[in-house]
């Protein structure tokens, strides 16, 4: 349980030889000379586990619940062997004064070297007192702990974008954490909740490499948020062929057709659901017959009903939509999609060298 990162890897069946190779690769990926590999190996074998202080604002705890669902690595191994989860009001033994003392002590002992992980967000209305742990505004606690953090993780759509309590009319003036923490690197891991293995991957990446993974312009880890669910959806073939579910539990539904007409937001949602999937790959929303509701996108609560089909996918033409796609002959549809695919490929190539633009409200064609 007190294992270093090396010991965890060994226990998971990784040999010393593979471990050293891993350290060499790590050195290379960090742009270091091969001579640094032993240094990294030594650090991972001996260095104290990185303290993580996990705060909860206005939230529903779905992020914590998702985190403990992680299978690779097991949440237990992350919590007890890779990091030191020194403050998390959802699972910590201490309460009240003893809990707050732990927070202060870690901030002092590991000044500049701990990670702040935030679940939920601060409400600014009512002088911040819509969320008042310890009888004080949560926003103050958040700023206080952020002050000496090495990096900040924004768990889920609450911390990243605002999520449900910030949906119109946002009665508590809940804001994403980057509105109040402005001088620290923040990585956003959106989703309601994020996928368990995405969460643990972000943590283990930091622990392994000592830095946050590559991020897109919106601050999300590229490795999980650079593709739309639609891009890798196993029902994409049905979309391309114009085969749609028209009503719940109809023949199309029983045959696993595309859910676009039932309001699926997969075409405008950046997340790893259709690749990493959920709960050890068991399924993902589309795989279980419901459209994607777009829960990792900024402001997804305020983009119309979850059952309204997207009308801004321009591949259908200016005034067309899936009704027509569904009605026109498959051959015509196929041609339209081929054209669409070609445009997408060109656009992708063009985008390759620039950072990803803000795609939350528009869809590439």
């Amino acid at each position: 349980m007190t294992e270093t990162f090396y010991e965890v890897m060994r226990r998971q069946g990784i040999t010393r030889r593979s471990y050293l190779k891993f350290c060499s690769l790590t050195a290379a990926s960090l742009g270091l000379a091969p001579a640094f590999a032993p240094t990294i190996a030594h650090a991972l074998e001996t260095k104290p586990r990185t303290p993580v202080l996990w705060l909860h604002g206005l939230e529903c705890t779905c992020c914590t619940e998702s985190f403990i669902r992680s299978a690779h690595p097991l949440a237990k191994d992350v919590i007890l062997s890779m990091i030191s989860l020194d403050y998390d009001d959802t699972i910590m033994a201490a309460a009240g004064h003893q809990a707050e003392a732990a927070l202060e002590q870690v901030m002092k002992d590991y000044k500049g070297n701990y990670i702040l992980a935030v679940e939920g967000n601060p409400p600014l209305g009512n002088d911040g007192m819509f969320c008042m742990p310890g009888g004080r505004p949560f926003v103050e606690k958040l700023k206080h702990v952020a002050k000496d953090a090495a990096a900040v993780i924004a768990w889920g759509s609450c911390a990243s974008w605002g999520c449900v309590q910030a949906a119109k009319p946002n009665p508590t003036t809940a804001v994403p954490i980057n509105k109040v923490i402005t001088d620290k690197p923040i990585i956003k891991v959106p989703g309601c909740p994020p996928i368990a293995e995405v969460m643990t991957a972000v943590v283990t990446y930091f622990v392994t490499f000592g830095r946050l993974p590559d991020m897109d312009r919106q601050g999300r880890p590229k490795m999980f948020y650079n593709q739309r669910i639609h891009d890798k959806c196993y029902r994409r073939g049905n979309f391309d062929a114009g085969q749609f579910v028209e009503k719940w539990d109809d023949e199309g539904a029983k045959n696993g057709y595309c859910l676009y007409k039932m309001g699926c937001k997969g075409p405008t949602t950046y997340n790893a659901c259709s690749t990493t999937r959920w709960n050890e790959g068991v399924s993902f929303p589309i795989g279980s017959g419901h459209g994607c509701i777009g829960c990792s996108e900024d402001g997804f609560w305020d983009k119309g009903s979850f059952y309204e089909r997207l009308t801004n996918i321009t591949q259908f033409g200016i005034d067309s939509n899936a009704d027509r796609i569904g009605l026109v002959a498959a051959g015509v549809t196929g041609a339209a999609v081929v054209a669409h695919a070609a445009v997408t490929a060109i656009k992708r190539a063009a985008d390759r060298n620039k950072t990803q633009a803000d795609n939350t409200n528009k869809v590439e064609s």
């Binding site: 097991l74 009001d89 009240g96 409400p123 969320c131 119109k168």
Partner: protein, 594 residues
């Protein structure tokens, strides 16, 4: 300083005030303040919900078919419960009947949640109140193995298994980085387990953490993800196609069946034996923390065996209320009767036009009013202690026919027991006999915790029952999972209203909806923790938390172990309790201190 007599309790706030904030190992944010007399016995208890999100106003004007997704985000711990009660409320309003398979799948998803939620609560949110992790270090692995094998045939119980765990635990503690166990109350004399029992419990804490992630895969099969699976007004979103390429297939059904077996196995061979073993060392807690549980209990009922039928003939978990401890008389409960469920705000940070009046959820108003009483210590943004004679919580005070009620597994088991249902009576009698305690021992902190364990087992076996029922339907050729007759808003009446009932893992949960011109006009939720964490009402009646803390002796006053034990026995969920907002959506009032 004052003395108030209510419900057989004498509230005296003259003694030393202790504040516990944050109360950890719960969902959301909760503050507890108590006054101790000179013998360190609690003479006054104050429960304050310290968060508010305002979800109902956000729902106004939206598509009722979307509501489940919004309210599901009230809570990610009891994930899916608010979605379930929401689709029921909309279906009630629009008179939509769901197919039998949809009813069974909902029951299976919901019983899955019970098993998961109760297991995680016992090991990860409650166990450290009873289990001393540091004491486990002095355990003898061989004796631990003997203990484990004497209470269960669970295979992970060899001396070598415990020796390995002990060695890892020692290294962990020696590292000085105790993580979530940092600053715990280790060594407090209130911990009574021998080192071997502590080590066994630590082993199962870790095993349960590994296992819980598998239980929820059942929700993932049907709902696509967990936490926060997908639901559907009119049925369930997943189709079933056993011979084709889409929908639920045989491989997924097999996976579910396997998980059900593992869940029953873990709960019956790890959770229940641990519960009984730990309880046997804490029998005095069968006489502490009862609060109002021996008086007033409420359940809306759950698990309709017959689709679209919420009568007690259909509900596998009965609906009813018990008042003044009259177990022989189960009173009928009607969510739509304006005289039954009412919410009061005299001691909550909201205001009504007519101050002391209670409002039924169909007439619910929630106008935030963050006013602190004169006796508050500190400032308006740095509260050192609240003044419970004034407003002091973001939680409202719901009452049933004017009475403060306890809800949750204990309420459900007592109502099931008093209804004479064998699947509630037999396990309760078994536990009472095993621990050699009378029926009245149920009304306690220990009784609440035991009822939750028994309910986890009850739910795990019901998972098997629901699965078998689904398979029987499929064999008979019934594959329907959704009724789309009233899916299109054009088919709806201009105005409709409905109520959705549910027994969430934490207790009775109701949603009330009014639909006008195809949009949500009013949405109100009264949730389990609103009942249990309730502040006082105009008659100064205290809620279940406050009552349960009364007269509890605290061993070490600056270590709130005893307070945590009783509060955790309710499994608090504050994000659920404190999200209410006026349907009119008035502008938020600013803070005033009078």
């Amino acid at each position: 300083m004052s003395v108030i007599e209510t419900q057989g309790f004498k509230l005296d706030n003259s003694g030393k005030r202790i504040v516990v904030d944050p109360v950890t190992r719960i969902e959301g944010h909760l503050r507890i303040e108590v006054n101790l007399d000179d013998k360190n016995v609690i003479q006054n208890a104050v429960s304050t919900g310290t968060m508010w999100r305002g979800l109902e106003v956000i729902l106004k004007g939206r598509d009722p078919r979307d509501a489940w997704a919004f309210v599901e985000r009230i809570c990610g711990v009891c994930t899916g419960t608010h979605a379930l009660v929401s689709v029921r409320a909309v279906e009630d309003a629009l008179k939509i009947k769901i197919p039998d398979n949809a009813n069974i799948i909902r029951n299976l998803m919901h019983s899955t949640l019970y098993a998961h939620d109760h297991l995680v609560h016992f090991y990860h949110l409650h166990a450290l109140d009873w289990v001393d992790v540091v004491s486990a270090l002095s355990a003898d692995p061989k004796k631990t193995s003997e203990l484990a094998q004497s209470i269960s045939n669970w295979p992970k119980s060899s001396p070598g298994y415990y020796r390995d765990l002990l060695s890892r635990l020692k290294k962990f503690v020696d590292s000085g980085q105790l993580g979530p166990f940092r600053n715990g109350y280790w060594g407090n004399p209130a911990y009574k387990l021998p080192p071997e029992a502590n080590l066994m419990a630590v082993a199962h804490y870790l095993e349960a953490l590994d296992f819980q992630k598998d239980i929820v895969k059942i929700q993932t099969v049907f709902g696509g993800k967990n936490p926060h699976p997908n639901w559907l007004v009119g049925g369930v979103p997943c189709s079933i196609n056993l011979s084709g390429i889409g929908g639920i297939n045989m491989a997924q059904l097999n996976q579910i069946s396997g998980i059900i077996d593992q869940t029953i196995n873990f709960i019956d061979n790890v959770y229940i034996p641990d519960l009984l073993a730990i309880a046997s060392f804490y029998k005095p807690w069968a006489a502490i923390g009862g609060g109002i549980s021996s008086q007033n209990l409420l359940a809306y009922g759950e698990f309709p065996d017959i689709a679209n039928d919420d009568s007690n003939k259909s509900l596998l978990m009965p609906r009813g209320a018990i008042i003044n401890g009259k177990l022989g008389e189960i009173l009928p409960v009607d969510l739509k009767d304006p005289a039954q469920i009412q919410e009061f705000v005299d001691h909550s940070w909201y205001k009504y036009a007519d101050g002391g009046k209670g409002l039924h959820p169909f007439d619910g108003v929630t106008d935030p009013d963050f006013v602190l009483g004169k006796g508050t210590k500190g400032t308006k943004t740095a509260i050192d202690s609240v003044d419970e004679s004034a407003k002091y919580s973001w939680v409202k005070a719901p009452r049933w026919r004017g009475n403060a009620m306890e809800v949750g597994p204990l309420a459900r088991f007592v109502i099931g027991y008093a209804s004479g249902r064998p699947d509630f009576k037999e396990p309760v009698d078994m536990v009472l006999k095993k621990l050699d305690v009378p029926l009245t021992a149920l009304f306690s902190t220990l009784g609440r915790t035991a009822a939750r364990g028994l309910e986890a087992s009850w739910a795990a076996h019901k998972m098997r029952y629901f699965f078998d029922k689904l398979m029987a339907n499929l064999k008979a050729g019934d594959f329907a999972t959704a009724n789309v007759d009233s899916w299109e808003p054009g088919t709806w009446p201009a105005a409709a209203q409905g109520a959705g009932y549910c027994e969430a893992p934490r207790g009775a949960l109701g949603h009330w909806i009014k639909i006008k011109d195809t949009k949500i006009d009013l949405y109100q939720c009264v949730v389990p923790t609103t009942w249990n964490a309730s502040p006082r009402d105009p008659k100064n009646q205290i809620g279940a938390y406050e009552a349960a803390l009364m007269n509890t002796p605290v061993g070490v006053p600056d270590q709130p172990l005893e307070i945590l034990r009783t509060i955790h026995s309710f499994d608090p969920c504050l994000a659920c309790a404190t999200h209410v907002m006026s349907p009119e959506g008035e502008e938020i009032t600013r803070v005033t201190v009078r």
